[in-house]
Amino acid sequence: MNTLEIIVFLPLVAALAIGFGAPSRATALGASALTLILSLVMAIRFLKLTDVEGTIFFESSRSLLDMEGFPQLSLSFGLDGISLVLLLLSTIVMFAAVLAAPKENEIKGSSKLFYLSLLLIGGGAIGAFCATDLFFLYAFHELALIPTFLMIGIFGHGENRVRTAWTITIYLGVGSLILLLGLILTVVGLGGTTFNIQDLIAIARVEGIPAESQPWIFGLLLVGFGVLVSLFPFHSWAAPAYAEAPSSVTMLHAGVLKKFGLYGLIRVALPMLPAGAEQLTNLLLVLLLGNIIYLGLVTIAQKKLDRMLGYSSVMHMGYVFLGIAAGNEIGISGAVLLMFGHGLSIALLFALAGWMRDKFGTLEFEKLGGIAKSLPRLGLVFGFAAFASAGLPGFANFAAEVEVFFGAFASGSGEEIGWIRWTTIIALWGVVISAVYMLRAYRYLFFGPKPAKLEIPGDLNWASRAPMLLLLAGLLAVGFVPELLNQFIRPAVEGLSLGSAG
């Protein structure tokens, strides 16, 4: 059992232990802290290795099914730069989410189930990012989804929570099935002999799926992964779900689990179906503009903080898709970096929103105001988070968005302004839109007159500050020195060698 397998299974084993009666908060904290430390150790070990492009490191493989006619199936894990960055994101956010979760006696209902589900969501995401076997990539994601549904239905806020839980179950369930169909067709098209992702990519390079059927399969994958990432027009599940889920769950889902769809596009769809990706790029460009512009405007119109954050997270996915659509090294590096930055910043914002909901009892802009004067620390942290999310320099999101825009603009060829350059130009306005809604929210909440009825609670204490500072530190560190993560991402993206699309 190597370190990577321990990282993957630790949260799951801890969840099992909680199920059998271990103290829930302590176990969850211990397990998530340990996975965070171990994943940092992996990152340091990785630094000594990166002289080879695009290889998977720390591989472990346990063969499960190896028989003539059946695809080879093995429980295998491995890391390259991209999955390492996402692993770091998962472990940081999981630790922060567990830290920010309510104490056992503050949970209505079974605290066991609450912490167990948190660990399952985090562990499932880690497993999905580390799996090098297509089946387990898919399976670990599903493992994380089911507790998400339960958590929203049982521990969510608001009267509609059961309905919302249902909506997202059906939405994501059907999305996963479409994705499954696409994956089956991909595996069958590539010979149906193995589930190993690297082997499948190798087969795709030598004799891929016929170019005329690639767009269909890529389309299925795009819809399947797209539903999971709330790509326009499959986005309507996201904002209500994020608004009504417990804030720890939203932190994990919006911050980490949602990135699975993007990761899947980069890891599976682009390298295995390059021709399909090329033919559908223009469609993707239109859809991602829907995310950035249309949903950006929808975000501005929101009247409650949690809804606004939900929509903003949907909107920001558009940039990641832009990086992926660019298909060149800088674009995809930017996309991966943006996944990291967005994951941390949205988790931070939802942690703040959760804290405010607990203390103020409402998140409606109308009923709040003038908080900054009495709660300066909250105002400061929220300000940082809002700036990070809007993409101000100094935060990871800025570095990432710059890379995405450069990459997208550079991928247009020749003198003329093609589809992708137009898209880039229009998408740039998204930055303005984000600034508008973030600053408006900040003004509503923290400045202006204080409504007479509003009772001001005590400011952030250390216990609630700790997870936020952790996330903020990550954002600032990568924002000032993007090379911290880019040194992992760059060789991995080069290894993808996506020549045809770029």
């Binding site: 028989m67 003539e68 059946f70 429980l75 399976a139 599903e142 339960l150 839980a165 499954l180 169909l181």
Partner: protein
């Protein structure tokens, strides 16, 4: 030990149980069920010790396939199912006694319970024989052994109108389908001049076979088999019979009867699918039936309010996936271990685990509630977290969520269909799976998300052996969902 001795042991066990019931003065007749469970456990162990006969020339082997890992696998399914049915029967005995026992003076308070445990043993022997039958005569006799004991078991609750109605429906339609089967066999015999399946296969694949007559024979047989496995449009009996039967018998019908139906289906359709002149038309008909079954089973399950009816439609839906595998026979010439036979066997193995688990939970819940409506599962997570968890796993597996056995079942079927370029069928399958996602998780949601609106809210007691059986089934569902080789490996 030769293979056929297993059936003999099971029959003997059944007779012993009847004799114990008649001559031993038991205070609690549930001990008869314990005898049966113990015996079946031994038989299950013996399954791994059978020897291949050295000399297969005798006439006996013309009726009984000598060596076949599939047959052994299906015998295992039959034994395990019967075992779980007996466990369920013991849990269910209160209801059986209430609705059968006569209030006569001096009668045992549990009169009539003994046969309820003994009859499944004879069914089990019939199912085991069915798995090995390789001759039209032995197939027919084995099938009737099973069906006739089911006629009795379905109508066992004689003071319950629903059970009697189910019995009559099953009897009439079962007899009709038997008629079709015999007529089909007669045609098949007329065409090929033989009752032995290997000879029939040989004759059918010769180029000068009469295609029209063969297809007519196939159509007749198909009607009967579609009835047995519950494929549309011959599925109409399933919801009523499942709902009316005693719960353990519903489980028995839905797992063992279906599994045995499918092994016969496999054996009888193989000669037709191997014949170059017939395969196209046969596949076409199977495709139509598969699509119909998938759509009807899954879509009709969605609005159901009674849990047994829902599981009845779900069993139709799963029959749809199984026929889908049958209709996706690979193109000739590709040597491949992923054949419809392997896939169907794996699927049935997985189906056994998850369906039995669902029925086991249902039998326990039924003993503490008055109805089988979905509403009585509301808030089950609070009354009994363990039962709710077991049901959640079973539903997740039936819906085909990864890491459970049900996922690989569906996955292999889809892969088979994709390789056979059955696109329409694949579409219907995906649609069906999506609908399944809804109605299975609906149950999970009502257990966890809603509060019970009935006054019954005290915890539900589970006895040790039932809990043990549930844990075994849960572990097996996960094990086969992570490592499908555990089941597939048994076939080679």
């Amino acid at each position: 030990m030769p293979v056929y001795s297993l059936e003999i042991i099971v029959v003997a066990l059944g007779l012993v149980m009847l004799l114990v019931d008649a001559f031993v003065n038991l205070t609690d007749k549930r001990s008869i069920a314990w005898i049966g469970m113990l015996g079946l456990l031994v038989v299950f162990g013996l399954l791994f010790m059978v020897e291949t006969p050295e000399n297969t020339d005798s006439v006996f082997w013309k009726f009984y396939a000598p060596d076949d890992s599939y047959a052994l696998f299906f015998k295992g399914i039959a034994v395990l199912t019967t075992l779980v049915v007996l466990i369920m029967g013991a849990n269910f005995s209160k209801v059986v006694v209430e609705q059968t026992a006569a209030a006569a003076k001096g009668a045992h308070p549990q009169a009539g319970l003994g046969e309820f445990f003994a009859l499944p043993m004879f069914t089990c022997a019939g199912l085991m024989w069915m798995a090995s039958a390789n001759n039209l005569v032995s197939i027919f006799v084995a099938l009737e052994t099973v069906t006739i004991s089911f006629y009795v078991l379905v109508a066992y609750l004689r003071r319950n109108v629903g059970s009697l109605e189910a019995g009559v429906k099953y009897l009439i339609l079962g007899a009709l389908s038997t008629g079709f089967l015999v007529y089909g066999f007669a045609w098949l015999f007329g065409i090929t001049g033989s009752m032995e399946l290997p000879v029939i296969a040989e004759k059918l694949s010769s180029p000068d076979v009469n295609a029209t007559a063969s297809l007519f024979a196939f159509a007749l047989i198909l009607v009967a088999l579609a009835f047995k496995v519950g494929a549309a449009p011959f599925h109409l009996w399933i919801p009523d019979v499942y709902q009316g039967s005693p719960t353990p018998i519903t489980a028995f019908l839905s797992v063992a009867s279906k599994a045995a139906g499918f092994i016969i289906f496999l054996r009888l359709s193989a000669p037709f699918l191997a014949s170059g002149s017939l395969v196209g038309k046969v596949t076409f008909v199977l495709t139509i039936i598969a699509i119909l079954t998938l759509l009807i089973g899954n879509l009709a399950a969605m609005p159901q309010k009674n849990f047994k009816r829902l599981l009845a439609y779900s069993s139709i839906a799963h029959a749809g996936f199984l026929v889908m595998a049958l209709a996706s026979s690979p193109v000739k010439g590709t040597a491949n271990a992923l054949t419809p036979a392997t896939v169907i066997t794996f699927y049935l193995g997985a189906y056994l685990l998850m369906t039995l688990l669902a029925f086991l939970v249902m039998a326990v819940v039924r003993s503490s509630t008055t109805s089988e409506d979905l509403d009585s599962y509301k808030g089950l997570a609070k009354r009994s977290p363990f039962l709710a968890f077991a049901m959640l796993i079973s539903m997740a597996s039936l819906a085909g969520i990864p890491l459970t056995a049900g996922f690989f079942g569906k996955f292999f079927v889809f892969k088979l269909a994709a390789e056979a370029h059955q696109w329409l069928l694949l579409g219907a399958g995906i649609l069906g799976a999506a609908a399944g996602f809804y109605y299975y998780l609906k149950i999970a949601a009502s257990m966890f998300l809603s509060d019970s609106d009935s006054p019954e809210s005290e915890p539900i007691a589970i006895d040790g052996i039932t809990r043990f059986a549930m844990i075994i089934l849960i572990v097996a569902i996960f094990a086969a969902g992570i490592n499908p080789n555990l089941i597939i490996g048994l076939l080679t």
